[in-house]
């Protein structure tokens, strides 16, 4: 614990270069209000050229407070200052304190607040929005500010932003968890550091793909129609009714969207079925690629590096929620546009089956712990349930679907649909799971009981959510302890990563970039950070941090996602072929498109009753 006798409320004005994929511009000014132990205030107004270290850094511990500190982290990196520690970000604390409130609406979680909105929520006076816009415009639109303009920006920065932050802090102070808030503060600055580094993109190839995206999408639509022998796309428009008929004809059960209660072929609902039905796998992969090509744009800076807003705390579980227009929002095949620069290497560290590990640790289920630590819990379950030593890939997939499904609150009907088996068979597998992981099963039930009391479920570092009492919340709360604590772990890892060169992260994996001769050492250090962090949060239980030799990509190779590698690169090679074909067509003047646009879900839901059917061959192979 650190005792701070001084608090510094900091803000800076700069061109954020929003949506451009660039690093933020050099700060026009950095201002701070330093509150001393005796209550006196010192106002700092800085402009370029900046001192080598902040004037308030006098060696003794002080607390830095800001609102959306990532922005200030960018300014500090620009001027060569170390990131301050300890630091508290009132944006992060607002998201922690008001998560349940922000999830109350019917349209998903509200976006995070601006400083003005947060002040309004706490009844604190803040600046005029129009004045803020005017000042921002002044900071964004030029680089050669006059002395008068710099003074105006400093006045705004200090008298409005810093002063509003101070007032907001006074209002929020009784509710802030000061012990854990600095972890979130460090996380907010570290993710800006990650954005600062950016993700290297093979721009030559990316430009070719982007240039021909409409033609490639058209070819994909045509190939998909041919492969499925149906006009799933007609004149470029996705026909949901045709897809429903195809599924009905092939005996594939059509999922019902739990949110609407209507039949749906949304990819998120079909994803669990791709291991069972080859037609669905084809549809899923093609549709995701077609949709991605329809919005094929990444924010890439002039240094050929992809940067984007991670939207921390954007989901109710505390997960980040970046836009789909990011490399992580594209189908995994397209992540191969990521390519290290000469002399560099990229490594992916995966928290393999993190949900299972967290569930095992939290529930204390000894069998699930042992299965997780074996490296392949799903295989262990299949082995035990089927009484065999070497289950097939499909059998493993079945028991994986069951374990993950149970944690997500999946019932026998959905499991049966996803696996193409009867309801009785699905129930038997679920019973097998309840019997094998009886401690987990009972624990999940108790978590639901607590959630049903409309009492916050709080994760290890304070992220929490309360039930609203609405129907259908059980699934959220069955999974919340796992997703929520996974998010807490991710934040702690970032906070402790220091100078480790993280350039990207998903919910359960990290991407690092370093010199080719250093990458393995860097990976090892990161693995230690992840294992120690998980041990600290999970009562000594260490999660896996997998990074095999093949998870490291050296120049001139390109990054390949594990799933794409397992599929033999077929989708990537197919994409490359289509790019070449599109270029050849263009050269020959045949740049045609049987369809238009990227395809969209533009039909109403089909609400007709469609009988479910099961695939007997699958049932036989599963062996249930």
């Amino acid at each position: 614990m650190i005792t701070c006798q001084r608090v510094v409320f900091i803000d800076s004005e700069f061109d954020a270069k929003k949506g451009q994929g660039e690093r933020p511009g050099l700060p026009v000014c950095i201002c701070a209000i330093e509150v001393l132990a005796d209550g006196r205030e010192i106002e700092h107004r800085l402009a370029a050229p900046y001192p080598t270290r902040p004037p308030w850094d006098r060696g003794d511990p002080y607390l830095t407070i800001g609102f959306a500190l990532g922005a200030e982290a960018g300014s500090m990196m620009h001027v060569g200052w170390p990131l301050p520690s300890p630091a508290i970000d009132l944006y992060a604390e607002y998201m922690v304190l008001h998560n349940t409130e922000m999830c109350r609406g019917d349209e998903g979680k509200q976006p995070g607040p601006s400083l003005i909105q947060a002040c309004r929520r706490y009844g604190v006076a803040s600046m005029d929005a129009a004045y803020k816009d005017e000042m921002r415009a002044l900071a964004y639109t030029k680089t050669n500010h006059t002395a008068a303009e710099i003074t105006a920006l400093q006045n705004y920065c200090l008298d409005d932003d810093c002063r509003s932050t101070l007032r907001l802090f006074r209002a929020m102070r009784p509710y802030i968890d000061f012990l854990r808030a600095p972890i979130r503060g460090a996380f907010m600055m570290q993710i800006e550091r990650m954005r600062w580094r950016g993700i290297p993109i093979d721009m030559t190839l990316f430009r070719r793909a982007r240039q021909h995206a409409p033609a490639i999408a058209a070819k994909m639509r045509g190939e998909m129609n041919r492969k499925l022998s149906a006009e799933i796309y007609f004149c470029g428009v996705f026909k949901r009714g045709t897809m429903f008929r195809l599924m009905q004809q092939r005996g594939i059960p059509i999922p019902v969207d739990p949110k609407t209660g209507k039949y749906s072929c949304a990819t998120r609902l079909l994803k669990p079925m791709i291991g069972t039905y080859s037609e669905i796998k084809t549809f899923y992969e093609y549709k995701r690629m077609i949709e991605a090509l329809g919005r094929f744009g990444l924010e890439i800076g002039s240094d050929n590096r992809h940067r984007f807003w991670l939207n921390p705390f954007g989901q109710k579980t505390g997960r980040n929620n970046p836009s789909t227009a990011t490399l992580w929002g594209l189908p995994h095949t397209m992540r191969s546009f990521m390519k290290p620069d000469p002399g560099m290497a990229i490594a992916q560290i995966d928290l393999g089956s993190a949900h299972i590990g967290i569930a095992a640790a939290l529930s204390g289920d000894p069998i699930l712990m042992a299965d997780y630590l074996s490296g392949d819990p799903y295989k262990q379950f299949a082995v035990a349930a089927l009484g065999i030593t070497n289950p097939t890939a499909l059998q493993r997939q079945v028991y994986k679907a069951c374990v993950l499904g149970r944690i997500f609150g999946m019932g026998a009907d959905t499991l049966a649909r996803n696996l193409g088996i009867t309801r009785d068979q699905a129930q038997r597998i679920l019973d097998q799971m309840s019997a094998r992981y009886s401690v987990l099963d009972a624990w999940l039930k108790r978590v639901l009981v607590k959630a049903a009391h409309i009492i916050p479920i709080t994760c290890t570092l304070g992220w929490s959510l309360s039930a609203s009492g609405r129907m259908g919340e059980e699934r959220t709360f069955l999974n919340f302890p796992m997703q929520g604590n996974e998010s807490e772990l991710l934040r702690l890892v970032f906070a402790r990563a220091g100078d480790l060169p993280i350039i990207g992260c998903a919910h359960d994996s990290f991407i690092l970039e370093d010199r080719a001769d250093q990458i393995k050492q860097t990976v090892w250090k990161m693995q230690q950070v992840i294992r120690a962090a998980s041990s600290d949060l999970l009562g000594g239980f260490k999660l896996r941090a997998d990074c095999d030799e093949e998870d490291i990509t050296y120049y001139p190779d390109r990054f390949i996602d594990k799933r794409e590698r397992e599929d033999g690169m077929q989708h990537w090679n197919w994409l490359m072929r289509l790019i070449e074909e599109a270029e050849n067509d263009e050269g020959r003047g045949r740049y045609g498109d049987h369809g238009r646009g990227g395809g969209s879900s533009d039909e109403e839901h089909d609400t007709r009753t469609i009988p479910e059917a099961n695939d007997e061959s699958t049932q036989a192979e599963i062996g249930v």
Partner: protein, 223 residues
Amino acid sequence: MAENPNLEETTPQTNSGNSGSPPITPINVGEPADAASLAIDQKHLEDFLQTDMKPGVVECKRPAKATFFTVRKEDPKEAWKDRALYFMLEPEGRDPYLVPPAIAAKKKEDEDTIRAVLLVRYVTMAGEEGLWPLKLNPQEGKSNRWNTSAMNALRVAENGAWVRLISKGEYRIQVSGKKMTEVPPRFSERTFSELVNAAFPPDRVINSLDHPIWDELANGRTK
């Protein structure tokens, strides 16, 4: 306030601050390095443990396969607390009935479906309680491998082990690597009698010689 914004650092201004507001320092804050001590114990997820510790149904059957369970040992010098001998009647494919000794004594000669069983209270690793009916070997005649191995499993369990039954021509016994100290058994505060009453509500107890079950057993049933 800076007159010249191009100065390296403008002169700091001091003022008396917000005289009406309480001081904001000192503030004690945690550090990422302290996460192990800062981690909120997730046991709070089980705050309402007691609310679901009384299931409406207590099952009277052998502990489920693949489920580790244990039992409490009885003190040979005292009356049993968590086990007792009962007579049970088990019609084919139906739930068992409990038969009081007086009724059993009168019907036992005619009905081989009435058997003496040892009902033993058990609890699974997950904290679910039940009654395990162990069939007894006849005092005269040949013993049965299932009965004998079940009784052996009971002895292993009552000596402080989590055990699991595996059916392979007999009950094979798997002992968990988890010790009682690592996963302590969570027996509820209910008494053995309460469990028996829950497992055998009044309609599952044959209290008279006029009970319809006797007619069914003697003459068959149509349903």
